[in-house]
Symmetry: C2
Subunit: 151 residues, 2 copies
């Protein structure tokens, strides 16, 4: 008969992850233009990775945030000229989000600006260990995502 494992390891992992998230977010936001914060950058990144023309509701689901939050984030990006919102010709209810050249440049410039800092962390750390945890984190993210309440 197998012992029930101790759940505390997961609590400790989530705790470390929460701290790392906060520190890395602060690092990112230092590099962003004033008025932009991490969610703005995450949206632009998503549009580059997955292709633009996406519907706001799908992005809200992808980020696991309420659609009202996505409305607000997109409004900020649009006002600053990083994205354009156009109606969806296939569905009168929805819109589609398109990156502008300024939006694409922001992503590129920010990555460039952060690269030295990232390289420094890698140098202080150990690349091999980082490479090893990435697939585990990906699997953990997928497990959590699959098990979430399908509200």
């Amino acid at each position: 008969m197998k012992d029930s494992p101790d759940p505390s390891v997961l609590f400790r992992i989530f705790n470390e992850i929460a701290i790392i998230e906060q520190l890395s977010r602060a690092r990112l936001e230092e590099r962003l233009p004033p008025g932009l914060i991490a969610p703005h950058f995450a949206v632009i990144s998503h549009l580059i990775n997955r292709g633009d023309g996406a519907m706001p509701i799908d992005m809200a689901r992808a980020f696991q945030v309420p659609k009202t939050s996505m409305t607000h984030t997109l409004k900020g990006l649009e006002k600053a000229g990083y994205v354009e919102m156009r109606p969806n010709p296939d569905d009168g209810r929805s819109k589609r989000v398109w990156l502008t050249a300024k939006g694409r440049a922001l992503r590129e410039d920010t990555i460039q600006a952060m690269a030295p800092e990232m390289l420094q962390v890698i140098a202080d750390f150990d690349l091999e260990r980082l490479l090893n945890i990435l697939p585990v984190l990906t699997d953990l993210r997928m497990t959590l995502d699959a098990a979430r309440d399908p509200k």
Copy 2:
């Protein structure tokens, strides 16, 4: 001459970590009493782990948040009866934060309430892999923390 390593692995790690943080935070907040969110729980946890009687400014530094945010979080905890704020007899400028019995119970009850979910994740996943990444996450957190801007 050694190639410069690719910083993209760090970007991907931070991205996965940001998603996991969001999912695990949502799981925690589902279990908390209405009006309490993750930072409230984190503060209570911190006071149990490190001992209460701490000064708000030290907690703000530990969590890497502005002191105004800590003031706000503590005010919420105090109003709901989870902590008590008392003046610091050693320094007229500062206060000390003490847990109430209700605060200690909240921590215990929340962990109990989440345990089944945590065990399910461990069962769906693989305990060994989780145990392996914990020390790497801890080291990464310490590296980031040590390298941060000492503003």
